[in-house]
Symmetry: C2
Subunit: 463 residues, 2 copies
């Protein structure tokens, strides 16, 4: 069959598809705030109705938190096409600081700018707009061909922005129902806003919070200063020791077992022409600050990091208080790569801190998340098929890329359901996800929808 | 004349004196919180009435902040006795955390404990109880002798706990009126809770707040971590560099010009038998953390320090947020000693920070207080006279001591009025000033009052 009729249908129906997305964006489905629970339910119900309108058996399934939307549709009879699962999330980030928004975050607007038309509103890029690219591709396909090209399971989460507490229990309890041949995830971006990208490696994450205690109570820095140990001084020393002057993390064993990039991947990445000066320049920086013997792309995609995400201790209000505090605190996260064991590194980090404490100080740790890196199997022919499909749609050929962030769902498909996952998304670096004035370019929405139609075609055409 | 009748009068009138103090303690004169401004006025008015009842011409004088209480009384005609000024403050610290108090901080109680009777309540030790020791000594003296032994100016401040913004302008505007031969200040403590002490050196203070900025906005530690500089990492390095491994401050020139202790002072301090193990043990510590080649008393009295009083940056709330923050902040104070120039050290510290910044970071400083150390002239015969008076009252002989804290008023008497100042006080280390459940021992109040009578006698008897 030819894909052209489906692509034309997508083009023709873009105004209606946009209206549907605006309708979904009007639902303030902020998952982290209990006051918005009903709106999360409403967004789930909206999606169920929309899937049902495509002839998909769908329902909003209860969890201890917000509902999971699960839908199933059969493909053509006797087709050998793979069974696909599509994942997206319908919940959104909170909107504060509200005063920095130029319009109501939940009254989405179309804006024409020198860079083209865009959709402004919370969730437009993360992830409602991206989620709907796949749904709209399916709608066009169904309308043209009367049926979808293969069996598809739709799986929409409502807790992605609040730590996904119900996700793995739900996947474990419904493993048989959810298992498919390949998971498609649409929650990532283009490479440098113009090159379509398939993410093949995601960094994992280990996060730790700790408190160093010195004196039993806060002290007066006049009466005790110079004699009593100050835990902020100790914390500063620990944090300063965490990197050497070449930007390497100094926790013993931190780099053990990390494979070097293959020559092939390295050549591919070199070919991407990553404009790191522009990437850093956009946030007011000019110098790569990581391991000085690594390229900027390695620093963010394939090398692990240690970042202090928060520090506090003593008096932090207006004015001055000459306290010598009893405690100092930090939150640290490590981005992990292939070969690193989060639990082993947690122990190594705790030893690292402990060994730096003077006799009079103690430390208490609070472990937060620990998830290994996710490495997708891109020898799966589906990856090359998707790469070709994306290259046909966009002006630049598609690339296999890394992603410095952590998207735990990609790992869960492997570890819980034994499935490979492929991450394709159309967000741009300037979409301001998690920030005020989030937007999604109409180009992302339109070409994203067309991209999924092409991918569906490539993955099922020979079946 | 004999002092015995005055001392007996103080003993007899202790219950009435205590009631008066309790009455003053019931006024919640918290100076830093504008909601308590009327109560500060009430405390000032209370003191004016009390001074007037002693035949002292007193009034509450307006300032842009809380009133100053100023009172004057003549001494006996043709007396050659020195004109004394007495300083104390009627304002108190805030009371939070209120839930840690065992009783209402402004419903003061007498408590009998294994260590004797005490007065519990905010301000009992700092400084209403101390202030009233002097007033009660004057009352007894007046009642026995019909007149005070010398001209005395009473000068009570209401902004000591909120940075004394009106103090120096008021002293400058009223210099002629306030100038006397010697200032007496009652806002310090006994040495180790049993040895009466005259403070002859107070450390000065330089305080600085600064913010290090890296990226222009907060970043996602997944997308930027490893490539973008984290200002918390830079701040930690700066703070860690501030001390070497021997506890010395590393700011260039920091120790320039500081005199060594004279052999006489050193011998005297050695003779005090400072029980630093007990002093540190009381707050859960065991090791002197300052300059390792100095004695513990030097560390807190005669050597300068650098203490970080507060740090903050990134996400400090519950849970985790993987932010790579744009900024990191610190508040630092330096306790200064004889020979150190605060303004010169402010410049040296700023250079120290600036020289440690990587190219992509900037720093903004906000200067807070800068006051030099105060060294009292203890060759003034009044000091020896007071030392003898105190030694007669207390079981241990009085000592000339240092004080690690900063009491700027002592310096102002010298710099603005050209007067020497003598600091004598009766607080104990466990009075919990600035903390919940503040108390003042009845022994401090009673023997403190008797001490001032003896000091007045010694300072005026030969006149």
């Amino acid at each position: 069959m030819s894909i052209d009729a489906v692509l034309s249908r997508i083009d023709d129906q873009l105004p209606e598809a946009t209206e549907r997305l605006l309708d979904l964006l009007r639902i303030p489905s902020i998952s982290t705030d209990p006051a918005y629970a009903e709106h999360c339910q409403n967004a789930a119900d909206w999606l169920v109705r929309d899937l049902q309108s495509l002839g998909i058996k769908a329902e909003a399934r209860k969890t201890p938190g917000h509902p999971m939307v699960v839908g199933h549709v059969e493909g053509p009879k006797d087709s050998a096409a793979p069974h696909l699962l599509f994942y997206g999330h319908y919940d959104v980030q909170p909107v504060d600081p509200l005063e920095l928004w130029n319009n109501d975050p939940f009254d989405p607007q179309l804006e024409d700018t020198p860079n083209g038309r865009l959709i402004r509103g919370r969730g437009s890029s993360d992830d409602k707009g991206q989620l709907m690219t796949f749904v709209e591709a399916c709608r066009a396909w169904k309308e043209v061909n009367g049926t979808l090209p293969c069996a598809i399971t739709f799986f929409f989460e409502g807790e992605e922005e609040s730590g996904s507490p119900s996700l793995t229990p739900f996947m474990e309890e419904n493993a048989e129902e959810l298992r498919a041949d390949l998971a498609l995830i649409c929650d990532t971006g283009l490479f440098q806003s113009k090159t379509p990208a398939i993410v093949t490696m995601l960094r994992g994450m280990l996060s730790e919070e700790f408190t160093i205690t010195g004196p039993r109570v806060d002290l007066h820095s006049g009466f005790f200063g110079g004699l009593a140990i100050n835990p902020i001084r100790v914390l500063s020393q620990v944090l300063a020791d965490l990197h050497d002057d070449q930007g390497r993390v100094t926790v013993p064993g931190f780099y053990d077992g990390i494979p070097e990039l293959s020559d092939e991947v390295r050549a591919q990445w070199d070919g991407l022409g990553f404009d790191w000066q522009n990437f850093l320049g956009g946030v007011g920086l000019s110098k790569p600050a990581g391991e000085q013997d690594r390229t900027p792309l390695e620093m963010i995609w394939s090398r692990p990091t240690a970042e202090v995400n928060g520090i506090w201790g003593g008096y932090t209000g207006d004015g001055f208080k000459t306290v010598l505090p009893a405690q100092a605190h930090a939150k640290i996260s490590f981005r992990l790569v292939d070969g690193q064991d989060p639990l082993k590194l947690r122990a190594a980090f705790r030893d690292f801190v402990q060994s730096r404490l003077p006799e009079d100080c103690s430390v208490e740790f609070k472990g937060h998340g620990a998830s290994p890196a996710s490495i997708m199997d891109n020898t799966d022919p589906a990856f090359e098929a998707a790469r070709q499909a994306l290259s046909e749609e966009w002006p630049e050929p598609a690339a296999f890329v890394g992603c410095g962030g952590s998207i735990p769902i990609a790992g869960h498909f492997g570890s819980i359901l034994g499935m490979n996952a492929m991450l394709v998304g159309f967000g741009k670096d300037d979409d301001a996800i998690h920030s005020p004035n989030e937007k999604y370019d109409m180009e992302s929405f339109h070409k994203g929808t067309r991209s999924w139609a092409r991918i569906l075609h490539r993955l099922t055409d020979n079946a």
